[in-house]
């Protein structure tokens, strides 16, 4: 089952709807840990028959464009309101990924952790899942965001 493809598709469709902007596929690549990500990343854990993480990487300007659109007023800094809005953005996108994965029969049940926001310089993220599918998305007017799909199928009875 192409669960990575399903995940990317779900993210693009949902993000287009939420932001009311066209989103184009940028380059896509298979990556290995450590991932060098943008200064602002959001990690969502997935557990079930498909397990792993969905990681979103942004530049700060793009976070502000997204949250300004969601809140309906310009946000200029990463305060509580902005962080909460962008976490919600990642939450809805990841939620649609889990729904589509379950609907397509990839997993009977899938759980999702709430999004964790990571901010810092020279961020590197490692996971034991590989390869990790990186896709750059070009959001019309706003700029780029990256998504990193680190998912694998869990064998029956396998413990994390």
């Amino acid at each position: 089952m192409d669960y990575k493809g399903i995940a990317v598709e779900a993210i693009i469709n949902t993000a287009e709807e939420m932001l009311d902007r066209k989103i184009k596929y940028g380059e896509s690549a298979e990556m290995k840990s450590p991932l060098e990500v943008e200064n602002f990343a959001i990690i969502v854990g997935i557990a079930g028959q498909v397990t792993g993480q969905i990681i979103f990487g942004f530049k700060e300007e793009v976070v502000n464009s997204i949250t300004s659109h969601m809140i309906g007023q310009e946000t200029l800094e990463l305060d509580d309101l902005t962080l909460s809005a962008v976490a919600e953005f990642a939450n809805v996108l990841s939620g649609h990924v889990t729904i589509d994965l379950v609907d397509s029969g990839c997993s009977k049940k899938l759980g999702m952790s709430p999004p964790s926001i990571i901010m810092g310089k020279d961020l590197k993220i490692s996971t034991k899942i590989q390869p990790i599918q990186k896709v750059r998305l070009e959001i019309e007017e706003y700029g780029d965001m990256s998504i990193y799909i680190a998912l694998k199928e869990k064998k029956e009875g396998e413990k994390e």
Partner: protein, 152 residues
């Protein structure tokens, strides 16, 4: 977050640190934070899903992480925080969270965990959407090992 969850994680961390690294941690002063929590340099995040959900992050300095990885690998010298050392530290976080979640499941809660992700960088801070973080510093022979629990 219920106090019993906090105690389960502390108990689990004590047991695993003792078992795999022969450490005898002491619990420091607990704190509650609403703002992003600063990392000591290395953080391992483990997502928790189900009837208890959130994120548990374990944070330590790179120096402590290397010493810890070395202890986990039978004293093998670790001079660089490479993917092998990272994998050891990730596994430790996985064991602590797995152990605690098994106790939660035994108590009748449906809980599952996601695989660990390890984050490094400079001036790193993290926050989990609208969930307060309980910060639990554990003082060990090789430095601070901090548990940041954001569960609901």
């Amino acid at each position: 977050m219920k106090v019993e969850y906090i105690n389960l994680f502390i108990k689990s961390a004590f047991e695993i640190l003792q078992q795999v690294a022969s450490l005898n941690p002491k619990k420091g002063k607990l704190a509650m934070k609403n703002k992003p929590v600063a990392s000591y340099g290395v953080s391992v995040l483990v997502g928790v899903v189900g009837e208890v959900k959130g994120q548990v992050a374990y944070s330590l300095s790179e120096e402590t992480a290397m010493k810890l990885a070395s202890r986990m690998m039978m004293g093998m010298p670790v001079e660089e925080f490479d993917e092998m050392a990272k994998s050891a530290i990730s596994e430790l976080a996985n064991m602590i969270t797995g152990n605690a979640s098994t106790s939660l499941s035994a108590g009748g809660l449906d809980v599952d965990i996601a695989p660990p992700t390890l984050v490094t960088g400079s001036d790193v801070s993290m926050t989990t959407s609208n969930i307060q973080t309980i910060v639990i510093p554990l003082e060990t022979e090789i430095g601070i090992f901090e548990i940041n629990m954001a569960l609901e």
